[in-house]
Amino acid sequence: MAASSRRNPPPLPGAENQDPLSEMADEDSDEGEDIFVGNSNPVAEAFQPDTANGEEPADLFSEAETSTAANSYITNSKSNGVHSDNENDLFAEVSVELSMENPSTTAKSSGAEFTPSLTLSATQPESMEQLEEEKDEDSFDMEVAVTNPEKIGDGMNAYMAYKVSTRTTLPMFRNRTFSVWRRFSDFLGLYEKLSVKHSLNGCIIPPPPEKSVVGMTKVKVGKDDSSSADFVERRRAALERYLQRVVCHPSLLQDPDVREFLERDELPRAVGTHTLSGAGFLKMINRASDAVSKMTIKISDSDAWFDNKLQEVESEELQLRKLHAVVDSLVNHRKELCGNTAVFAKSMAMLGNSEDNTALSRALSQLAEVEDKMETLHQEQAASDFFILAELLADYIRLLGAVRGCFEQRMKTWQRWQEAQSTLQKKREVEAKLLWANKPDKLQQAKEEITEWEGKVTQYERDFDRISVTVRKEFLRFEKEKSNDFKSQIVKYLESLLQSQQRHVKFWEAFLPEAKAIA
């Protein structure tokens, strides 16, 4: 994926093959963005207008990034799918459209490669080149952190606000370091937006942490004990990991919603995220119906790769769930051990007090102190067990669910293609009948319908191919990320165990001479 390739116009139709598609699909490619500039402003309105006005074109851009024929999803537009059939034609159009468009979008990366010949705002070219360069690098020069949970408000209307800080050298942001305050529903809102836009492409969207009515209620009510502190810390860490995964994903990072989330001072309240809202119920119903349809679809796929991978994912998810349950049990037992050790330490201290041999008495008190220190060690160990291991497993169980969702999307796309094919078939039969019956006026309509459906079939087939490519690529990226994640987290966990044992050794070494001194 040399930068240079992007400076050239894409190959002509005849040379079209998988690769350009994949390249275009995964780059934060500017080429794609411009397709819709001229074409579908009306479509822009029809499409998810959940952000402020200025963002709409940006939405389209992001839409286009991941799939050059994404407008096929904008099914509202009755325009036939023709104009998206041949992406290459669109690129030819781009050079013209660009000069007309280019509002002061926040997406500074807008603007095609074909800039030299066009009038663009002066600031663009440089930042674009930089952007391309950076896109080439594997390491994203981007850090996000979620810190400083603060309770805002009181009673049942209270909520926790978290500070989201970003540090980056990516030019698409206004500053190098900045931070904003967000609440949990904002994170959920981001997920909803991304999900709507990208999941249809077969992207693996990192799922956010789960809602917890009980946990939050405790916090709201103001219960100031360790369990609510734990809950808040757990949520903060989970939100941080969630954001980090989002910005690590090359396509999602380019999504203006993500940028807005990170940059904008005030975010409109995400309303569709409340559990008991109308939107919430709707979601539940959709999910239920999805589940039913899921069971009945089976692709007769010539490509066994997808089947195999799906099976792997499912079995892995099973194992991870098992592992998570055991780690949970370990955390609980360690907490128990912690409590019991503390109690024992006190008991030992009492015994030491009543012992009348002075040396033994002192030794017993020392033993009590050692056990106290062990208690601290156990507590830290339990925290480490939980925050490093258990949460890692929980995250990946959710992520594997998202991966499965991805595969399901592909299946749905396939199904749609198949259905289109059968509809086409029916239309052809109708035409044949009409020919037989010799009804010229209806025949014309039938012919039009056939053309329409032929177009659809081709488009859907292409969609399916495209989503297959995306899913495959996403999956490989996911595997890589997962592999790294697990390795680094487990190493971290083992290091914490190591430290704990080192302190173990120190404590008992200190006690030994005391024991020996008993006379």
Partner: protein, 413 residues
């Protein structure tokens, strides 16, 4: 699946080296038991059958009382109890701390677990099953060894005591190679015992209320009371702590198994990683289990033993207190008799008897209590030192495992 035979010859222990440090000499919580040649007793073998455990008691002696210099008999738990009770009931020994009776061998919990495992065999993989079975068998073995140790300690204490070792019942116990026909107490006898205990504790309260003239004994009374209660508390808490420790070790075992399953699903990088970590956890788990077992032996058992010994010491004080009260009553009776000038001789003899009894008990009791202290301090010292050394050994072992594993894992990535 039942363990039917455990060979515990000195040094020939072929079980897991759980208690290998313990196998030399008397597995004693106490330390300064003179292993002099005149009388050496140990339990050289033990057999576990469904309901009972059969101990082979082995004696080596140069005393003339015995027919041979070396001989063995087979004894069961009830016979140990009979011996203990015979000491307690013997008036002659009222002034001594009677070594506490060993607790009944209790394999119920372990048996239950083994049974549950057998029932659940279908629901787990073969490796898991074998592993768990090994775990439970090791646990069974550990309990077994412990009960053997406790019975042995009892015998050694008796053999080391200058007076008790000469007891006739004790010699019969050691030598008579037929069944002693000591049946366990039947219901009625158990009820009698129960009532006796109730009366005794009520009496004990009364007796304890009597202030002692002798400072030494007064101090000992207060001390022992408090000490006994605190040891009881510490013993219970240490048990709970060790149980949690064992549960955590069990969890690590399951984590290791699941990681192993994950690791064997593929041969990618990550899977190899999982396999190595699974291996590590297997090893650390074994160490953690050892830590829990050693804590059990060195700490929990120590506390339990001294719980029983301090009770025996309290019993001694009670007997002395009882004798004191009797003596004082006899004095009062004598005074009354003299005043009325009736049955004076009878009262005098009675008073003499009480006086003698009381003084005899006081004399030996003082020495016994001092000995008890010395023994206690020595035992605590030995066990605490060993505990610390073992904890260190295991922590260092863990450390080494973690370091080498981390080295390998980091080197790979």
């Amino acid at each position: 699946m039942w363990l039917t035979h455990v060979v515990l010859c000195q040094g020939l222990d072929d079980g897991p080296d759980f208690l290998s440090e313990e196998d030399r000499g008397p597995r004693a919580v106490n330390v300064d038991l003179q292993t002099d040649a005149t009388l050496q007793v140990d339990i050289s073998d033990a057999l576990s059958e469904r309901d009972k455990v059969k101990f082979t008691v082995h004696t080596k002696s140069t005393l003339p009382n015995f027919k041979q210099n070396e001989f063995s008999v087979v004894r069961q738990h009830e016979e140990f109890i009979w011996l203990h009770d015979s000491f307690v009931e013997n008036e002659e020994y009222a002034g001594y701390i009677i070594p506490p009776a060993p607790p009944r061998p209790d394999f119920d919990a372990s048996r239950e677990k083994l049974q549950k495992l057998g029932e659940g065999e279908g629901s787990m993989t073969k490796e898991e099953f074998t592993k768990m079975k090994q775990e439970l068998e090791a646990e069974y073995l550990a309990i077994f060894k412990k009960t053997v140790a406790m019975h042995e300690v009892f015998l050694c204490r008796v053999a080391a005591h200058p007076v008790l070792r000469k007891d006739l019942n004790f010699h019969v116990f050691l030598e008579y190679n037929q069944d002693l026909s000591v049946r366990g107490k039947n219901k009625r006898e158990k009820m009698e015992d129960f009532f006796k205990n109730v009366v005794k504790s009520a009496d004990g309260v009364l007796v304890a209320g009597v202030k002692d003239v002798d400072d030494f004994f007064e101090h000992e009374k207060t001390f022992l009371l408090e000490y006994h209660n605190r040891v009881k508390d510490a013993s219970a808490k240490s048990d709970r702590m060790i149980r949690s420790h064992k549960s955590a070790a069990d969890d690590i075992n399951r984590i290791a198994s699941t990681l192993y399953t994950l690791g064997t699903q593929d041969s990618t990088d990550v899977c190899k990683f999982f396999l190595k970590v699974s291996e590590l956890f297997e090893k650390t788990r074994k160490i953690e289990a050892r830590v829990a077992a050693d804590e059990d032996l060195k700490l929990a058992d120590l506390l339990k033993y001294y719980l029983r010994e301090s009770q025996a010491a309290k019993d001694l004080l009670y007997r002395r207190g009882r004798a004191l009260v009797d003596y004082e009553n006899a004095n009062k009776a004598l005074d009354r008799a003299r005043a009325k000038n009736k049955d004076v001789l009878q009262a005098e003899t009675s008073q003499q008897v009480c006086c003698q009894k009381f003084e005899k008990i006081s004399e030996s009791a003082k020495q016994e209590l001092i000995d008890f202290k010395t023994r206690r301090v020595a035992a605590f010292r030995k066990n605490l030192v060993e505990l610390a050394e073992l904890e260190l050994k295991h922590a260092k072992g863990n450390l080494q495992l973690l370091q080498s594993c981390l080295g390998v894992l980091k080197g790979d990535t």
